[in-house]
C-alpha cells in the first residue's frame, strides 16, 4: 500500500517514514506543501498523512485542492492543532481522519490500516479467499492450517491483490500502489514477485489462487 507523508518537521518526517516503511508500506515523503500537492495530484496514494502548518502551502489548502480535483486518496491530518474547531474544519474539508501530535506511532499505524480497509471496502481485518487467510493487522498469512512466511515485499503485493480480490489488477495498479516514487525497480519486478508469491501459496492438487489475465494483469481468487 502506498502512502504520502507531507510533514515539515524533519525528525518527525524521518521517523514516520522509517516506521511506515518497516510496517510494509511504500512511502513517499516531502516537507513542502506545494511539492506535497504535486505528489498527491500525480499519484494514486492509498493514504496521505498531512501536516497542517507547512511551508509553501498549508495543509488545508492542499486538502481543498485535492478534493476539488476529486482525488480519492484517504487523508489523515496529523497536526499539533488540537481544538475542536480545527478538527471539525479539517474533517469537513474532506479529511478522513484526524490525529493530534504527539501521538502513539502504533495508533497512527492502526488508523492507516483502518483507512486502507475502508478504501477497499474491507471491514473485516481477516481476509479469507479459498482457504487462504490473511490477518491484515499482524500481517500473517495461512493456507489451510499452514502459516506461510512471506517477505515484506511479497506480503504487500499479496495484501493489495487480496484487497481487490476478484478484480483484475493491472501491473500499473500494482506498480502505483506497492512501489515508491523513487523506487529503482522496473515493472517486470511485479512479474518476478508474482512468481515468488505463487511458489509459496500454490499447493499441488488445489485450485490456483493467482491467475494471469492475459494482457490485463492478475486476479486473486476469481472463479475460472
Amino acid at each position: 500500500m502506498r502512502l504520502l507523508v507531507i510533514e515539515d518537521y524533519r525528525p518527525l518526517r524521518q521517523s514516520l517514514t522509517k516506521g511506515l516503511r518497516e510496517a510494509g508500506f511504500a512511502v513517499d515523503i516531502t516537507g513542502n506543501g506545494q511539492e506535497g500537492l504535486w505528489y498527491a495530484m500525480g499519484n494514486e496514494y492509498d493514504v496521505i498523512i498531512l501536516d497542517l502548518m507547512l511551508p509553501g502551502m498549508d495543509g488545508l489548502s492542499i486538502l481543498r485542492k485535492l478534493r476539488a480535483k476529486d482525488r480519492q486518496s484517504h487523508v489523515l491530518i496529523l497536526t499539533a492543532k488540537d481544538t475542536l474547531e480545527d478538527r471539525i474544519k479539517g474533517l469537513d474539508l474532506g479529511a478522513d481522519d484526524y490525529l493530534v501530535k504527539p501521538f502513539a506511532f502504533k495508533e497512527l499505524l492502526a488508523r492507516v490500516r483502518a483507512l486502507l480497509r475502508r478504501g477497499y471496502r474491507q471491514k473485516n481485518p481477516h481476509i479469507k479467499i479459498k482457504g487462504l487467510r490473511i490477518d491484515l493487522t499482524r500481517q500473517r498469512v495461512w493456507r489451510g492450517r499452514d502459516e506461510i512466511s512471506l517477505t515484506p515485499r511479497e506480503y504487500v503485493l499479496l495484501e493489495y491483490l487480496a484487497m481487490r480480490a476478484g478484480q483484475t489488477v493491472s501491473r500499473a495498479d500494482i506498480w502505483e500502489h506497492v512501489y515508491e516514487f523513487n523506487s529503482s525497480a522496473s515493472s517486470n519486478v511485479v512479474d518476478v514477485y508474482i512468481g515468488y508469491l505463487r511458489k509459496k501459496l500454490e499447493r499441488p492438487g488445489k485450485p490456483s489462487l493467482i491467475r494471469t489475465v492475459r494482457g490485463r494483469g492478475y486476479t486473486l481468487g476469481a472463479q475460472p
Binding site: R10, L12, S15, L16, G31, F105
Partner: protein, 476 residues
C-alpha cells in the same frame, strides 16, 4: 461612603422639611396676624363706642348706662373689662366686674389706640387696647380749653383665650399636615429613587453575569439613562481591552503548547519506531542523537520563553556599561562566520570605531547574535549581511541588514510577534522557534531602546535599533 439611594432620600426629605417649615411659618404668621388684627379691631371699636359715651360735665364723668350694659362686658365666658382714668391718673370709672382689681394703665398718642397682650389675674391670656381721648363735653359747658386738658385714658381688656385656642389649633393643624406630608414624601421619594436607580441595578446584574471565561459579552442595557451611558461605554471599552489581553494570553499559551507538541511528537515517534524492533548499536546511537538535538532545540525555546516572560514581568536586571559597538558586533559575528563563508555570504561590519553605547553587555550581545543568526539563516546564497551604526544626539542608531528577503512590508510588521515565521522562507521547522525577534524587541525595549523592521529594496531586510548613547542617563 453612603449609598446613592440614602443620599438622594435624605436630600429630598431635607428639602421637603425645609420648605414645609418655611411655608408653615409663613402661613401661621399671616393667619395669626389676621386673627389678632380682627380681635384688636373689635376691641378698638368697643373702646371707641365706650369713649364716645363718656360725657364730661365739669369734673363729673358720665358713662351712659346702656353702654355699660353692652353684652361684651356682661359675657361670663369671654369677659371684657374697661377702666377709665383722668389725665391725672385717678380712676374715673371701671367695670363693676373688676371689683377691687385694676387694669394696667397705658396709652399711645392722642386718639390712637395702642394694643397690648397681657396675662389676666386668672392666668388666662388677654389683650387690651389703650386709648387716649377727650370726652364729649356737656353742651352746657363749651370750654374747649378745659376739654383738652381733661383728656382721658381708656383701657379695654378682653379675655383672648378663644384667639389663642384658634392659633394653637392652627399650629397643630400645620404640624400634623407637615408631618403627614413628610411621611408621605419619604415613601414617594423611596419609590421614585428606587425607580430612578433601577438602571443601575440592571447594569449591575449584567456586569455580575459576566464570567471571566467569556469576555465577549458587553453590557447592553438597551435604554440606559444619559447619565449612566458613559459608565456603560467605558465599561465596555474596558471589557474589550481585557478581552484582547485574555485572547493574546490564550493565543500565546496555545502557541506555546502547539510549539512544544511538534518536537514532542518528533521525540515520541522517533523512539517508538526505534523500539518497534531490534536494532544495532549504531542505529540506537543515531536515534539518541536525533532526540538529543530535538531536546536541545526545545531547551533553547524554553529559555527564550522564560526570558520573554521575565522581561514582560520586569524581572530582569541590567548592568549598564560603556560598550564599543564595533568590537561587540565582531565578537557576536564569530559563531556565524563559518556558516556564512560556506554559503558565500559577505559580511561587512561598518560600525565606526568611535560608536559607544551605554547598555547591558550580555543582553546586547543576545540581541546582536539573534539578529545575525536570523540574517545568516535567511540571506540568499552569495548574499550580503552588514551592520552599520551612527551617533545621533542622545542615542545610537544601529542597522542590521541582509539581502535575500522575501517578506512583504505587511509581514515585516509581524516579525516581532511570538511564534511568527515567514512561512515561505521557513527552511526547517523546529529549528527556529519564531521567538528570536520577539525576544529582541522585548530586550531592546527593556534597555530603553526601540526596534523596527523594514523592507528597503525589494529583497533587503533591515532591522533598525535605537540604543541609548554613551551619555544617556541609566534608569533601572
Amino acid at each position: 461612603m453612603r449609598s446613592l439611594r440614602t443620599r438622594l432620600i435624605i436630600g429630598i426629605i431635607g428639602a421637603m422639611l425645609l420648605l414645609l417649615t418655611v411655608f408653615s411659618l409663613i402661613v401661621y404668621s399671616v393667619i395669626r396676624r389676621a386673627l389678632v388684627n380682627q380681635f384688636d379691631q373689635s376691641l378698638a371699636s368697643t373702646a371707641r363706642i365706650l369713649a364716645a359715651s363718656v360725657e364730661m360735665d365739669g369734673d363729673e364723668i358720665d358713662l351712659e348706662l346702656d353702654v355699660q350694659q353692652m353684652p361684651e362686658f356682661q359675657r361670663p365666658d369671654r369677659p371684657s373689662y374697661y377702666q377709665l382714668w383722668r389725665h391725672d391718673g385717678t380712676v374715673a370709672a371701671k367695670s363693676p366686674s373688676l371689683g377691687k382689681d385694676d387694669i394696667l394703665r397705658f396709652e399711645g398718642p392722642f386718639s390712637t389706640p395702642v394694643f397690648r397682650a397681657f396675662q389676666m389675674r386668672n392666668s388666662r391670656p388677654g389683650r387690651a387696647v389703650g386709648f387716649k381721648f377727650s370726652p364729649r363735653a356737656d353742651s352746657r359747658d363749651s370750654n374747649r380749653q378745659t376739654a383738652i386738658q381733661q383728656a382721658l385714658t381708656l383701657v379695654v381688656a378682653r379675655d383672648a383665650g378663644g384667639l389663642h385656642r384658634q392659633l394653637s389649633f392652627l399650629q397643630s393643624l400645620l404640624l400634623v399636615a407637615s408631618g403627614v406630608t413628610i411621611a408621605l414624601s419619604v415613601l414617594i421619594a423611596a419609590f421614585v429613587v428606587r425607580q430612578g436607580l433601577r438602571p443601575l441595578d440592571s447594569i449591575a446584574a449584567e456586569i455580575a453575569a459576566i464570567k471571566e471565561d467569556d469576555l465577549a459579552v458587553r453590557v447592553a442595557t438597551a435604554s440606559v439613562p444619559l447619565e449612566i451611558a458613559p459608565i456603560k461605554d467605558r465599561l465596555n471599552e474596558l471589557l474589550s481591552r481585557l478581552e484582547d489581553a485574555f485572547k493574546r494570553e490564550r493565543r500565546f499559551t496555545a502557541d506555546v503548547a502547539h510549539e512544544l507538541r511538534t518536537p514532542l511528537a518528533g521525540i515520541r515517534s522517533t523512539i517508538e519506531v526505534a523500539l518497534s524492533r531490534g536494532r544495532d548499536t549504531a542505529e540506537y546511537q543515531t536515534v539518541l542523537s536525533e532526540c538529543l538535538a530535538i531536546v536541545e532545540n526545545m531547551q533553547i525555546m524554553m529559555n527564550n520563553l522564560l526570558m520573554i516572560a521575565r522581561l514582560d514581568a520586569c524581572q530582569v536586571t541590567f548592568r549598564h556599561e560603556q560598550i564599543n559597538l564595533l568590537e561587540q558586533v565582531d565578537s557576536c559575528w564569530g559563531p556565524f562566520s563559518e556558516k556564512a563563508i560556506g554559503r558565500e555570504i559577505a559580511f561587512a561590519n561598518r560600525v565606526p570605531n568611535d560608536v559607544t553605547v551605554n547598555s547591558d553587555r550580555d543582553n546586547l550581545s543576545m540581541v546582536l547574535s539573534n539578529l545575525l543568526n536570523n540574517a545568516v539563516e535567511y540571506t540568499n546564497d552569495a548574499g550580503q549581511i552588514w551592520v552599520a551604526a551612527q551617533n545621533t544626539d542622545e542615542s545610537v542608531e544601529v542597522t542590521v541588514g541582509n539581502t535575500g528577503c522575501r517578506l512583504t512590508n505587511e509581514q515585516a510588521a509581524q516579525v516581532f510577534d511570538c511564534f511568527w515565521r515567514g512561512d515561505s522562507s521557513r527552511k526547517d521547522a523546529g529549528v527556529h522557534s519564531g521567538l528570536g525577534l520577539a525576544l529582541v524587541k522585548r530586550i531592546i525595549t527593556a534597555l530603553n531602546g526601540a526596534v523596527t523592521a523594514q523592507i528597503d529594496q525589494p529583497d533587503t531586510f533591515k532591522i533598525n535599533l535605537t540604543l541609548p548613547g554613551p551619555h544617556a542617563a541609566t534608569s533601572d
